[in-house]
């Protein structure tokens, strides 16, 4: 038990890091503009992230598992730690880092170290979502923004009433965003531990949770701790760098991003696609930051074309996207070597 908890510590750290950084993409503008108090934002984020992780976390987690079947706790610990340290380093360089890409890089590092092949089909599917994610978010944001703009600009709703609607919309969108983040990105936190740690089903408050769901619950709590302890500072600064968002634009960005994360984690939606003869949706963790940037760019295009986007910062983000998986893969490889040869822990069966 103690050993398991020790090895899970890297996942908890990863979860904390995700909560500290990614919750800002959901409630950043709302808290930054003081429309929603941090306390309310944190409470909604925590509740819905945990709910999303436990209820809908399975799809993306299994999608990530297909990239590398990490079957020992020591290996999972190193992979998770490498991704978490990469996220921390990239954050210190001031780059909007992607947790999803860090974990994928770390798994590839494990595959390289253990000599397991990396399935090119799975890898292509995952990397494909890195491209589709922001594009899809951009399209959603453009469509949603056009609809919202038409409704708001042509409405005769009193400014004060609209003010209240906007706040409520931000809260609902935030809840959806938090749910989708939990459902999709819990794979980054706990995905590598699913095969390495076999937990029996347990009953919690009348609910029977499978071993996998218990891991997701734990990961959800770690994310929640990250939200509560560290996300406030990030929330207060988010939105100022790439593109200044109005509350209405922030609502559009959050919904568009959440839709993308939801689509890539919903087994129900994927099954629905299959049932009507469409190809299944690849259920893999996608970068919330990337989707967020895609949505912001989408709104930027509708509002005033490419000229109002900060290209220098976009370039920095793009650099981070390439550097993140490479850095985490290298780190994972080196740390796995130490784990196996210095700490004498097997990193695979």
């Amino acid at each position: 038990m103690l050993t398991s908890m020790l090895f899970l510590s890297s996942a908890l750290f990863m979860g904390w890091s995700l909560g500290a950084n990614d919750a800002a993409n959901i409630f950043g503008t709302a808290v930054g503009t003081k429309m929603v108090s941090f306390r309310t934002a944190a409470a909604i984020s925590c509740l819905f992230i945990i709910l999303g992780a436990v209820v809908g976390g399975s799809g993306a987690a299994h999608g990530l598992g297909a990239l590398g079947a990490i079957d020992r706790l020591a290996g999972a610990f190193v992979v998770s730690l490498s991704a978490a340290v990469t996220v921390l380093w990239m954050t210190r360089f001031g780059l909007p880092v992607s947790t999803s890409q860090a974990i994928v890089g770390a798994i590839i590092g494990w595959n390289l170290f253990t000599g397991n092949p990396t399935d090119p089909v799975v890898l292509t599917r995952i990397v494909g979502t890195w491209v589709y994610g922001p594009i899809l978010a951009g399209i959603f944001a453009m469509l949603l923004f056009l609809v919202v703009r038409k409704v708001v600009n042509n409405s005769t709703i009193h400014l004060l009433v609209l003010d209240r609607y906007t706040r409520n919309a931000l809260l609902v969108a935030g809840a959806f965003g938090a749910y989708s983040l939990g459902a999709n990105n819990i794979a980054n936190v706990m995905g590598v531990f699913i095969q390495a740690l076999d937990l029996p089903a347990r009953e919690f408050a009348g609910l029977v949770l499978s071993g996998e769901q218990q891991l997701f619950l734990l990961g959800g709590f770690a994310i929640a701790v990250g939200v509560v302890t560290f996300s406030k500072r990030v929330m207060l600064t988010v939105g100022d760098n790439l593109f200044k968002l109005s509350p209405v634009s922030a609502f559009v960005v959050v919904v568009a991003t959440a839709l993308v994360l939801f689509i890539f984690s919903s087994t129900w939606l994927s099954d629905l696609f299959v049932s009507v003869g469409l190809p299944p949706i690849p259920l893999v963790p996608v970068s919330q930051s990337q989707a967020c940037v895609g949505a912001v760019v989408g709104i930027g295009l509708v509002k005033g074309g490419w000229r109002i986007i900060n290209y220098r910062l976009l370039g920095k983000i793009g650099l981070g996207w390439i550097a993140t998986p490479m850095l985490s893969a290298s780190l994972s490889y080196v740390l796995l070597f130490f784990m196996q040869n210095v700490f004498m822990q097997n990193v695979q069966m």
Binding site: V148, N153, T156, H158, L160, R164
Partner: protein, 221 residues
Amino acid sequence: MKGKGMQVFTNKSKELMENIECYLTQVTSASLHFDEAMKDYIAGRMVQFDERIHAVTTIEREADAELKVVKYKLYAFMLIPDTRGDVFMLMDDLDDVIDYTKRLLLELSMEKPVFPEFIKEDLALMCGDSVKAVESLMLAVRALFSQTKLVEEHVNRTVFYEKEVDRIEEGLIRRVFASPEIPDLACKMQIRDFCTRIASLSDISEDISKNLLVYAVKRMV
């Protein structure tokens, strides 16, 4: 069913809307009283003129009290800080309109300038256009709250009336200084001064309307 907290909030919001509406009505009333007061003064109906001054003074006092309530409620119940700041500034600016009309009427009653017959018609026209500028401004303000798209149209009207007032003002001043009917330079300067002050009401309206346009652009999604 709405929660109790939301119900309380909705009522407060409604209260604030009513307070703002009441305040806007007071600004409009003050400008209408100003128009009537000017007509009375020009026609020499001094009793009615004094009654109008009393009415404007009362409105100004009540509007100050209402503004205080609006400002408090804006910060207590309105949620978007950016919009709140804009509404706050706008309400403050509108207070200048009431204050100005009251001050101008009081100055008239204290200084009692004598307007020669040949400028009375244009003077009344200038007062009317100044008030029209205020009325257009008030329509623009109301549009900001419920139909942002119309703000620009009303602002354009305000600007139009301000230009009209400037045109009339210039003609009036030229005629006053060219006229042999007013031999005293001091009288000419006093009349010019009052013409400028009356015209300033439309300048104030124009300045506010320009800020209003910015608030409207910010509100448009």
